[in-house]
Amino acid sequence: MSNDDLKKRRVIGPDGIEFEVNPMEDYFCTERPHPESPANRILEKFFNWARSESVWILGYGTGCGAIEMRPLMTPRFDAYRFGIQWRPTPRQANLLMVSGYLSVKTLKRVIRSYEQMQNPKFVMALGSCTINGGMYWDSYNTINRLDHYLPVDVYVAGCMPRPESILAGLEELKKRIRAGKGEGANAYIENLDWYKANQKKIIKDWDMPDYNW
């Protein structure tokens, strides 16, 4: 988004009336999010089972790990048989798969996509570069540790992680969800200030609201 779109300005509407627009306040919801408490225990157990068996991945290839997504969707590995599907929009997805290194420019979009996903949501990080920077540990444009910016549920190490290990990671994620540990969304909201401080430290031109509803 270019910054010009976000400036306060006067516009003429389609019906000819001139009015003032302040996009940061008018177009976005500035309310602070609050944690969502789970339903009662027995129901939540059933829900967690359903969640674990129906994981919808956001189709966002953030890095080179995206190249192993296609084998996952196709005959050899076929993740669909485990209830995993790809959704093109963040609103309908449950799992954000950060496939590899994140440049600062992408991190901004990833945060935006992540915040638009609905609670409960999970993050899976592929590749060594999300754990400690991996091969790009000294690069000026890639982050080193994803868990400082987003609550990560499962890390899959490797460069690239093979499809088998991604499948194993997904199985691990399922176990976590079934055990009721997939509460990353609430953890993110509870520690929002810390996450936001870290994010704003590296995203120098922060031109979006603090929480993208």
Partner: protein, 392 residues
């Protein structure tokens, strides 16, 4: 351009340079972003589109989402330490990077590569081309809403990756071509297994042709879409299949032969119409040529021989001062490495010339104007762009 030519009187006036005068506040245009989180965009890049109705008026390509600063990182690493890095520049076909970098180092340092290594390198490059084409074929069909060919070709690509794994130990990143040669000889029985895969590919490509290229809907969507005028090839720096589809037989393998290509028998595929359909078809025929080339290589390759030239101590390897440019033909066009050495153990500067650099930015912005928004994804896959090589 053909779709909406009935009434253009309500279109905005044009500027002197041919672009439309667009006033976003007039509420006649929609300002939308395709990408970076968008399944129809190849890789992680984005198109900022301004549309009127269904027709694109203006487009701006935004790249940089995958920038890792390779060229800076290489300046901090010794030549041999750069090898794990270079293959990661272009994800779907890392071997072209490895070859270009190795060839550049060899030229600067004056190393002779043994005969067998040259043959194996040619084989690896052609296999990489095959794998990349097969994956791209699925993407091209998928961008038109046709999932079936993508499933078939990706399934075949897995077989190629298996052969790669057997040969190099890696599925995606191989780090196989080192300066002076290659890391290892062919394993036993490799040729036979590779030939079996090639037979499979030829079989399935016949089905793909029937289902995809002979399909009326497919033809209706792609014929006449995004026509590249042959006169644009030079000002826009178009190379590879995109130029060949315009009838200009540019192919580095033929023009300035490297490795063992002079000893192989092939003709570059060219097309006439230069629209999306021709570009797709040129790639399909190029894929079949690649299959044929691999057969030729396996036939002509000597059985025994050295595969690695002796190197100096690579950890203290000082390469004499100089500069060079090495190129190879990858699936998208001319891939090149411009390397400058200042006589130290570290490269002074490495610049990567990816073919998508020109295709995805300047050319895409020109081609997409006037196209229906439903065709933007198809147009983009027909140009075959990979963002990682644009921004490195």
């Amino acid at each position: 351009m053909k779709y909406f030519e009935e009434d253009r009187s309500k279109f905005p006036p044009k500027n002197a340079d041919g672009s439309f005068q667009i006033d976003l506040e007039s509420h006649k245009f929609t300002h939308i972003w395709q990408g970076p989180q968008h399944p129809g965009v190849t890789g992680n890049m984005s198109l900022e589109l301004i549309i009127q109705g269904d027709e694109v008026m203006q487009c701006e390509t935004h790249v940089g989402y995958l920038h890792r600063g390779f060229e800076k990182l290489m300046e901090r690493r010794k030549y041999i330490q750069c090898f794990p890095l270079v293959c990661r520049i272009c994800v779907p076909e890392p071997d072209f990077n490895e070859y270009c970098f190795a060839a550049g180092v060899e030229e600067l340092a004056g190393i002779e590569v043994p005969e067998k290594a040259l043959w194996i390198r040619t084989l690896v490059l052609e296999m990489a081309r095959l794998a990349s084409y097969l994956m791209w074929m699925g993407g091209a069909a998928g961008s038109l809403g046709h999932g079936l060919p993508g499933q078939w070709t990706n399934y075949l690509r897995d077989y190629i990756l298996d052969r790669f794994e057997e040969l190099t130990g890696g599925r995606i990143y191989h780090m196989y071509i080192l300066p002076g040669g290659v890391r290892n000889d062919l394993p036993e029985g490799f040729k036979q297994r590779l030939l079996e895969v090639l037979d499979d590919i030829e079989q399935i490509m016949k089905d793909v042709k029937t289902v995809m290229f002979n399909n009326t809907v497919f033809k209706k969507r792609t014929q006449g879409l995004g026509i590249i005028d042959p006169s644009w090839v030079e000002p826009y720096g178009i190379t590879g299949p995109n130029a060949r589809a315009a009838g200009i037989p540019l192919d580095v393998r033929k023009d300035s032969p490297y490795l063992k290509y002079p000893e192989l028998d092939f003709e570059p595929v060219t097309g006439q119409e230069s629209d999306a359909y021709t570009r797709l078809d040129v790639r399909r025929r190029d894929l079949l040529i690649t299959v044929d080339l691999i057969r030729q290589i396996l036939n002509k390759m000597p059985e025994n021989g050295e595969y690695m030239a002796p190197l100096p101590n690579v950890l203290n390897w000082e390469i004499p001062r100089g500069e060079t440019y090495v190129r190879a033909e990858c699936t998208r066009g001319e891939y090149g490495y411009y390397m400058v050495s200042d006589g130290s153990m570290y490269p002074r500067r490495v610049n990567v010339r990816g073919p998508s650099y020109t295709h995805a930015v300047a050319l895409m912005e020109k081609l997409v104007v006037g196209v229906n928004i439903a065709d933007v994804a198809a147009l983009m896959t027909s140009l075959h762009t990979y963002p990682p090589e644009i921004e490195r």
